[in-house]
């Protein structure tokens, strides 16, 4: 291997954006032939709304997955967060900020618990976060039969329905959170250390990285992202909803978006930009199928196929890289 053949480690554009462009192009054509219009105002807006909700969760999920962990409790954190926010606001604008703060704090607390279970008690992340999720599910099922609380009207008008042209404010929030996460990953020590912990915990430890602290922080941030998604959903629904997280399949969909976005499930490789691509891809497929009025079950089949295909493509790439 000669030094000349070494290319600088510039990341190529994640393949997911190629897939996204193709999907949109084909979708546009098919919808057109069907006599519809994919990119009218209302479909674009609803696509971006779907992307905003899932995106907030998936960006957080990217952080823990990069660190070699995983969070299956996000769906319940979302539900809890909608309730905490809506019940604290109780329909008044005065309690808006305290309610948002409380919802985020509760989420952060759950993230802390997840992180400590994974690092200090060395419980496998899959089991630890599943367990914490079931704990929350018990609390939610026991305490709530249906919607509770009322979201402050200001929040509903702003985060829930305000938009600039076809772009909802909530999508801009996703852009901001993504930018912050990207910045944290590439420009801060925390980000560098997180990728190192995910790549090889032993290497990180021997290089002086405080693995536990890094991973706990990632879990806290992940849960806070889920909490933020909950606040957004509360602003859409106008109240707290105890099942919104699980019914939206936010746990598995967020992991799917991360994987489609090119982040290695084992950690150490990937990033949030790809994840947003994955989110947009899933949301686009949703929008296209809604336009075509495709059967909901068939939709799930297609999504499943796409996730498997994405992982297969990345696995092939990794093999080629290893062979080179």
């Amino acid at each position: 291997m000669s030094a000349l053949s070494l290319l600088p480690a510039r990341r190529p554009v994640p393949g997911v954006f190629v897939a996204l462009t193709l999907t949109l192009a084909i979708g546009w054509l098919v919808v057109l032939l069907d006599g519809g219009q994919l990119f009218n105002q209302s479909t674009t807006v609803s696509l971006l709304h779907v992307a905003a909700g899932l995106g907030l969760v998936a960006v957080g999920q990217t952080l823990v997955i990069l660190g070699g962990s995983l969070d299956l409790s996000v769906a319940y954190v979302i539900s809890l967060s909608t309730l905490v926010a809506a019940e604290t606001m109780n329909g008044s604008d005065g309690a808006l900020l305290p309610a948002v703060g409380l919802a985020l704090a509760v989420s952060a607390g759950i993230g802390l618990l997840n992180g400590l279970l994974v690092t200090k008690l060395r419980v496998n992340a899959f089991i630890a976060t599943l367990g914490v999720g079931l704990l929350l599910k018990g609390y939610l099922d026991n305490g709530y039969d249906g919607p509770a609380g009322t979201t402050s009207p200001t929040l509903v008008q702003s985060l829930g329905y305000q938009r600039i042209g076809p772009v909802p404010v909530s999508f801009l929030l996703l852009v901001a959170v993504t930018a912050a996460a990207w910045f944290a990953l590439s420009k801060t020590r925390f980000g560098h250390h997180l990728v190192a912990v995910g790549g090889d915990p032993e290497v990180a430890r021997l290089s002086g990285v405080r693995n536990d602290r890094i991973l706990v922080t990632a879990h806290v941030l992940c849960s806070m992202c889920a909490g933020l998604a909950g606040i957004y959903l509360a602003s859409r629904l106008g109240s707290g909803a105890p099942r919104v997280g699980t019914e939206g399949l936010y746990d598995l969909e967020s992991i799917a978006a991360v994987v489609i976005g090119g982040t290695a499930l084992a950690g150490g490789r990937g990033g949030v930009i790809g994840t947003v691509g994955g989110v947009l891809l899933l949301a686009s497929i949703d929008a296209i199928f809604n336009q075509l009025e495709v059967d909901a079950f068939f939709k799930q089949v297609i999504r499943g196929a796409i996730i498997i295909a994405a992982v297969a493509v990345y696995a092939r790439r990794a093999m080629r890289k290893a062979a080179a």
């Binding site: 070494l6 600088p8 080179a324």
Partner: protein, 503 residues
């Protein structure tokens, strides 16, 4: 050089450590002066690596004191040791293949400006570091996974240097390096010495120990046997301290001409992406040595024969029958075994037991149920025969020393009764005692009729073990040498001097 220096940088007194009830270190004393290269040698599992990890904060000692720069210290972790000025280059690479050279070098202490990682500064400093050790060709923004073994080693060294260490531990730093790279390392070690940095140098290669060190400490079974001034000792004496055996009884006898059987494996004009027009015959009963530099196609040849990255051109015959070795499984079925170069990555399953590791190949090739008990009995016998020491069959293999791990890998392949054995650096990172045990074993296999192909970067080993030597260069056979060739002849073929170029 014989005067003990007045103010040692590092003083260890009575260091002890146990793992899972096994005493690994017992009352070890050692000191290192600034600017001194203190070599630590010892057999398989003598406790060298554990001792180094204690000095660098990787493990806490059960007993004894560590004094660094005149103060008693208890390092709470590697970060703590690094801050104090102890750097370590580990025997196995500790790098992130997905990250760049600079990101690896500065992992854990990235330069920051206004709280943010200063990527430009990081690249610049890495470049300067690489320049200072004469590695100007290595780009600081290359992904480490794209680099070859030797270049990754350079990154490891740069990583340790970036810490401004006052004490640098080198655990088998040359194990993965080619000869000309070892020369570079020598220069680097001397430059570090001039800067007053103390070095703890662990190596199995006695030549290096004599070239570089001023004092040598010999460990055996977790205890310090002696500490001697390098000038006052000899290789023979050191080996006696380590294993109680003379250097001359090192290599087993070669095969007599009548022991050589028919051609087992015949390669005609074979090639693939890394090899071209290779012609080679491997006979039953012989040890064929393969020499050459890193990346000359030695490992690619073994991997192609074993079907890992198969030949794409040419013909292969096995016992005069044409075969296509498409995958390791077909190769194994054909009676070929392959002991890989990268033991940690490809040789062992770290978290499985010794027995599971030894049974791996048999389980994969034979039907699940038939003769399972008999197979287990046979593998246990083989494990005993190759003398795996210091561990039960149920222990996770990652807790074993390198030499013992290699013996388990050998037992795994012997369980298949292979007719052709491919060894890729069979004794890399393995101490003298286990080394000669493996040499004996290799020769015994050949004597029993197996055809052995052995790749080695260790020239004395290559010359001492081989009945014939084929030297490779740039993916093809540069030439063949008979037994009794000299180191110079091998090197001349490997680097391609005038004689061969004229052909």
């Amino acid at each position: 050089m014989s005067d003990p220096p007045p103010t040692p940088l590092l003083t260890l007194r009575g260091i002890g450590k146990s793992f899972l009830g096994v005493r690994v270190l017992d009352g070890v004393d050692l000191d290192v002066a600034p600017g001194e290269v203190h070599a630590v040698v010892g057999e398989n599992g003598a406790g060298k690596s554990t001792l180094m990890k204690i000095v660098s904060g990787g493990y806490a000692p059960d007993g004894g004191t560590v004094e660094f720069a005149g103060e008693p210290r208890t390092f709470r972790g590697p970060r703590d040791a690094q801050r104090a000025g102890v750097g370590i280059i580990h025997q196995e690479f500790n790098l992130l293949p997905e990250r760049t050279v600079a990101e690896n070098v500065y992992l854990g202490h990235e330069p920051v400006r206004r709280g943010l990682v200063d990527r430009r500064e990081m690249l610049e400093r890495t470049r300067r570091l690489l320049d200072s050790i004469g590695e100007t060709a290595l780009p600081a923004d290359a992904r480490v996974g794209q680099l070859g073994v030797a270049q990754q080693q350079v990154v490891e060294i740069a990583k340790a240097l970036a810490l401004d260490a006052r004490l640098l531990i080198m655990d088998e730093p040359t194990a993965a390096l080619a000869d000309h790279e070892v020369e570079l390392l020598y220069g680097l070690v001397r430059r570090l010495q001039e800067r007053g940095i103390g070095l703890l140098y662990v190596s199995h290669r006695l030549k290096e120990v004599f070239d570089l060190s001023s004092r040598i400490t010999v460990l055996k079974d977790g205890r310090r046997v002696t500490t001697v001034d390098t000038a006052d000792t000899s290789a023979d004496e050191l080996v006696r301290h380590m294993v109680g055996r003379e250097l001359s009884s090192y290599y087993p006898d070669r095969a007599a001409p009548e022991d050589r059987g028919p051609v087992r494996l015949n390669l005609r004009d074979v090639g693939n992406r890394k090899l071209r027009d290779v012609n080679l015959q491997l006979r039953a009963g012989e040890v064929l040595g393969i020499g050459g530099l890193q990346g000359s196609g030695r490992s690619a040849l073994a991997r192609a024969i074993f079907g890992v990255s198969p030949f794409t051109t040419g013909d292969v015959t096995l016992d005069d029958r044409p075969v296509r070795l498409r995958s390791p499984r077909t190769a194994m079925r054909a009676g070929i075994a392959y002991v890989t170069e990268d033991r940690k990555g490809e040789g062992i399953v770290g978290r499985q037991s010794v027995l599971d590791n030894a049974l791996l190949a048999s389980r994969a090739v034979f039907a699940a149920r038939s003769g399972r008990a008999a197979r287990t009995v046979r593998v246990r016998e083989l494990l005993a025969a190759v003398e795996v020491r210091g561990a039960g069959d149920d222990q996770e293999i990652r807790f074993l020393s390198g030499g013992n791990q290699q013996k388990v890998v050998l037992a795994r392949w012997l369980a298949l009764n292979p007719r052709i054995l491919l060894f890729d650096e069979p004794t890399r990172g393995i101490d003298v005692g286990a080394k000669s045990a493996i040499h004996d074993l290799v020769r015994r296999l050949a004597r029993d009729g197996a055809a052995v192909l052995m790749i080695s970067s260790d020239l004395p080993e290559l010359l001492g073990m081989s009945d014939r030597i084929v030297v490779m260069r740039d993916g093809h056979v540069a030439g063949e040498l008979p037994a009794g060739a000299t180191e110079e002849e091998v090197v001349a073929l490997a680097v391609g001097t005038t004689r061969e170029m004229a052909q």
